[in-house]
């Protein structure tokens, strides 16, 4: 069950998507999200889908992973659908009128657009974490946020915290899995019983998990101190980030795609 969580998972590879500079990748992902929410017609959405799928194809990551990353968000999608279905009103007559429930054509169109956006959003952003190692990702973020140093924002500390947090997601998932198995072996009921029972059943899992997290934090802090870690000042990198010609070409190509997607706004009528 816990193995299904794909946040922060990284699939090493050698594709052009993997090789792209992390800074550019982050900026392009943000740009993609903006483009996605500015495409208000079906042609634009269709082109976004084509764009996402071709980048996915290029990265060599199995499409099954996509399905896996969407799965945990299905409840959220349903929630969106449910809310919008009943609360959006159009100018015309309702399609379905049950007296107290009125469903308009606009609501259904809006839902389709919204669901498409959510799905592509997940695809695009999960592609970022699938193809970028956590270290590269935080290196990229640190480099992007460097200007904030001028206003005394602790950029390096933030980046280090993010690196550590991302690094520990798989470890903690594994740990939780182990503890759950251990308590299940002692007859703990984790998947049945009333709501109150289930909350109670979490205690034997959460307490060992907290204790081991604290222990790990302490061990890591000691290990970092032993290596004379003292923060970001004067720290150099093993792998310097460098933008190559390939990076620029890929970025330009993506930008062209984005512009094409956005330009559909001018030629097609907006759906919402």
């Amino acid at each position: 069950m816990l193995k299904d969580i794909t946040i922060g998972q990284h699939f090493p590879g050698n594709s052009p998507v993997h090789k792209l500079d992390p800074r550019l990748k982050i900026v392009l992902t943000v740009a993609f999200v903006v483009v996605l929410f500015m495409s208000t017609n079906f042609v634009g959405l269709f082109l976004s889908a084509v764009f996402t799928l071709s980048v996915f194809k290029l990265s060599g990551i199995p499409l099954k992973m996509l399905q896996k990353s969407i799965k945990p968000l299905i409840p959220l999608i349903f929630f969106t659908v449910f809310l919008n279905l009943f609360f959006i009103k159009g100018p015309g007559d309702p399609l379905i009128n049950l007296g107290f429930v009125k469903i308009y054509k606009e609501a259904i169109l809006f839902i389709i657009v919204m669901v498409c956006r959510i799905i592509f959003l997940i695809c695009g952003t999960s592609l970022l974490t699938y193809t970028t190692s956590p270290i590269m990702l935080t290196d990229g973020l640190e480099s992007l946020m460097k200007p904030l140093n001028k206003i005394h924002f602790p950029v390096h500390e933030m980046a280090m915290m993010m690196t550590i947090a991302l690094r520990f997601i798989p470890t903690l998932i594994e740990e939780t899995d182990k503890i759950m198995n251990a308590q299940k072996s002692r007859g703990a009921m984790l998947d049945s019983g009333s709501f109150a029972d289930r909350i109670k059943a979490l205690v034997p899992i959460l307490i060992p998990l907290f204790i081991s997290s604290l222990r790990r934090a302490e061990e890591l802090a000691t290990a970092m101190e032993c290596r004379c870690y003292h923060g970001g000042e004067g720290r150099t990198r093993l792998k310097q980030l460098k933008i190559t010609g390939d990076d620029i070409r890929s970025a330009v190509l993506c930008c062209v795609c984005f512009v094409i997607i956005l330009s559909t706004r001018m030629f097609f009528t907006r759906v919402i």
């Binding site: 099954k64 182990k178 299940k184 002692r186 007859g187």
Partner: protein, 290 residues
């Protein structure tokens, strides 16, 4: 009658993915009631995956697990009952402790079984006795204890459920020699007193030689050998090839033989080695006197 039977068991991690790993490949195995089985094998050979099938934590992808001749997954609602019959002690079990007092922690399993208060109390005391836990420790918090003591509390937590099959996954990892000795002799004592079956995964050939009746050797997800301890260690050459090795004392005897001393090499434990050496000495003296 075998208490646990494994039929054509196969298991693959991340099936249909680029990083798929076949952990178990068509395993067939029968474990007789009351035996002390040692499981050895190289890291990543599927030992832990195999034992997690024994109490239904992992559902077989192919094949069946039979407990007393009954497939444990036919009635999946009964899987808790299976878990009470097959007690599982994981690696580093001290990390599963959570209660305020050791007593409560040991009582967690029996309580989940729905036993009456009195019976729970009896079992906690029985388990504590087997694991050498004092009353003072029982009343205290498990987090104030040393690593070895915590581990004994955790093992007592499983023993208190009185499982018919006790599975231990490297119960001695990271303990000092005295701690190892203590835990294993307590487990052996429990097995001999109750007549239950014990499955012990270990990387220490000495521990296996000292305690196990039968040894299961695993290699790359398959059963390489399942025979008595003597038979398994007689195959020293292949064990070394697998990177498993043989007990140190056996190595000494093999070397003696190589140096021309006329002595048997079927020696796996220290007491037996002493006996053999004394016998050899007597025979030599007798030959001298004659």
């Amino acid at each position: 009658m075998s208490v646990l039977k494994v039929e054509n068991l196969s298991y693959t991690y991340n099936p249909d993915m680029p990083n798929a790993v076949k952990a178990l490949d068509n395993i067939n195995l029968e474990i007789e009631e009351g035996t002390f089985v040692g499981v050895i094998g190289h890291t990543g050979c599927g030992k832990s995956t195999l034992i997690s099938h024994f109490n239904g934590l992992t559902k077989p992808q192919e094949g069946r697990i039979l407990l007393d001749g009954k497939d444990i997954w036919t009635e999946w609602k009964d899987i808790r009952q299976v878990r009470f019959s097959v007690g599982m002690v994981f690696q580093y079990p001290e990390y599963q402790l959570f209660e305020e007092t050791c007593y409560k922690d040991i009582a967690f399993g029996p309580k989940n079984m729905g036993l009456p208060e009195e019976e729970i109390d009896n079992r906690v005391k029985m388990a504590a006795q087997f694991c050498g836990i004092t009353d003072e420790m029982l009343a205290g918090s498990p987090f104030d204890l040393s690593g070895g003591q915590k581990r004994r509390i955790a093992i007592a937590g499983i023993i208190a459920m009185m499982p018919r099959v006790l599975v231990l996954d490297e119960p001695c990892a990271g303990l000092d020699p005295e701690g190892r000795e203590l835990i294993l002799s307590q487990v052996k004592n429990y097995q001999q007193t109750t007549g239950c079956t014990v499955i012990l995964v270990s990387h220490s050939m000495e521990d296996i030689a000292n305690y196990a009746d039968k040894v299961l050797v695993m290699e790359a997800g398959t059963v390489y050998n399942y025979a008595t301890t003597e038979e398994v260690f007689a195959d020293a050459e292949n064990l070394s090839r697998m990177g498993l090795g043989i007990p140190d004392i056996t190595k000494v005897f093999l070397k003696l033989k190589e140096m021309g001393v006329d002595i048997g090499t079927d020696v796996y434990t220290i007491p037996y080695a002493v006996k053999q050496l004394l016998k050899y000495k007597q025979a030599k003296e007798a030959a001298k006197n004659a």
